[in-house]
Amino acid sequence: MFLNGYGPLVLAGLMMTLKLALLAMIGAFLLGLVGAGCKLSRSRGLRALGAGYTTVIRSVPDLVMMLLLFYSLQIWLNRLTDALGWAQIDIDPFSAGVITLAVIYGAYFTETFRGAFAAVHRGQIEAALAYGMPPWTLFRRVLFPQMMRHALPGIGNNWQVMIKATALVSLIGLNDLIKATQDAGKGSGQFFYFSILSALIFLALATVINLAVLLLERRFSAGTRRHAA
């Protein structure tokens, strides 16, 4: 039998981990762009906001932040709905997991993107402005593609850290890969076997991310010359 009959359970857990990681990555990516925009903005208020966000999040362990946000989000939302006179909205553990991971890793993406935006040559932006590009076109056709070139190594690193951080969501009650393999271990009495299995699956995911980043790097560095080093 497939994994002593625990195959479907482990697969469902893997799907949960992947879904969570993918949504949280998209959220963190967008938050990172906004955060980098704040940190590089001319407004002092926005800069302070961005600096506060990245400093607070990165000086506290992600697990502490996760538990803090997970348990507090619902209380804050209840206060908000009470104040507005709405019915109570319940946050399910999945949304809470996605939101907390996105908020935490958004701070890391902010730092990655801030450095990468700053590395885009000023002349490129001036040239685009001289061509009369509106801001959105400038961002989409000049700033973003060149920024990505500098940001990709950092993005790859963040993805690696993030996929590993999803292992922690089982602690806030999600039926992810870890929970599934631990349950399978409990049920079959083969803790060792199923723990190793979850480790191997994570290792495979890390390898896939490595390859994906390599491919993306090739795509985004089109038109640049490689160092002969």
């Binding site: 607070v56 000086s59 506290v60 362990p61 992600d62 697990l63 502490v64 932040m65 538990l67 803090l68 348990y71 507090s72 209380i75 690696q160 590993k164 951080a165 292992a167 922690l168 602690l171 870890i178 631990q182 271990g185 009495g189 083969q190 803790f191 060792f192 723990s195 190793i196 979850s198 480790a199 994570f202 290792l203 890390a206 390898t207």
Partner: protein
């Protein structure tokens, strides 16, 4: 908030009256894991930076596996996985070791930190200017002598900024020790949360404590770097230029 601090402040910092808890336990986890990781990482990084593939590739595999899997999974393997094996339970020594959550936590953190530290040190060893090694060879130093007196002192100094980051990451990583029933800062925060239903205060205090330790460590490393990496700063010769 005030009541929580009055009632649980001591547990957050050093003891709940019976055993070491909170900040004291987190610092012990941090120091023990870092020491274990450092001692193992020095020889492994030499092997990792070696030209001999029989030395280099096994160490690469070790760091790839331990850096590619979540630390939480590694802790689970040691704490619930290894302990469930019958040959471990039948041996009194192994049984005694793996039964204690704190032993498993320190072992897991130490090995994982060792994998990252090995890569940091190996990078620094590769970056040692070849001229320094050649000069030492010319002076007739043995391979061991070159490593002990030239390569390692220089590489470990240059690795300090990256190692400082690693120390902060290990500090953050220790927060999963509560899953192995170790009474660190986060374990106290969870107990306080279930006793008071005030998650923001309970975890907020923990967050502030972790941040305070992190900032102290950053400050400490800055001081050490200023001292040990003084040679990298531009120097005035004492004479008018």
């Amino acid at each position: 908030m005030i009541e929580i601090l009055q009632e649980y402040g001591k547990a957050y910092l050093w003891t709940d009256g019976y055993k070491i808890t909170g900040v004291a336990m987190t610092l012990w986890l941090l120091i023990a894991s870092l020491a274990l990781g450092f001692v193992l990482a020095v020889p492994l990084s030499v092997a990792r930076a070696s030209a001999n593939p029989w030395l280099r590739l096994p160490v690469w595999l070790f760091t790839y596996v331990f850096r590619g899997t979540p630390l939480y999974v590694q802790l689970l393997i040691l704490y619930s996985g290894v302990y469930s094996l019958s040959f471990v339970q039948s041996q009194p020594l192994l049984n005694g070791f793996f039964r204690e959550g704190i032993n498993c936590a320190i072992l897991a953190f130490g090995i994982c930190s060792c994998a990252y530290t090995t890569e940091i040190f190996a990078g620094a060893i590769r970056a040692v200017p070849p001229g320094e090694v050649e000069a030492a060879r010319v002076f007739g130093m043995t391979s061991l002598g070159v490593y002990r007196r030239i390569v390692l002192p220089s590489a470990l100094r240059r690795a300090l900024p990256a190692y400082g980051n690693e120390v902060i990451l290990v500090l953050h990583a220790t927060s999963i020790a509560f899953t192995a029933t170790v009474p660190d800062i986060l374990k106290i925060a969870r107990d306080v949360n279930s006793a008071t239903y005030a998650p923001f205060s309970a975890f907020g205090i923990a967050a502030v404590l972790y941040a305070a330790i992190a900032f102290t460590l950053v400050w400490l490393f800055r001081r050490i770097e200023a001292r040990l990496l003084a040679f990298q700063r531009p120097q005035s010769t004492g004479r008018a230029a």
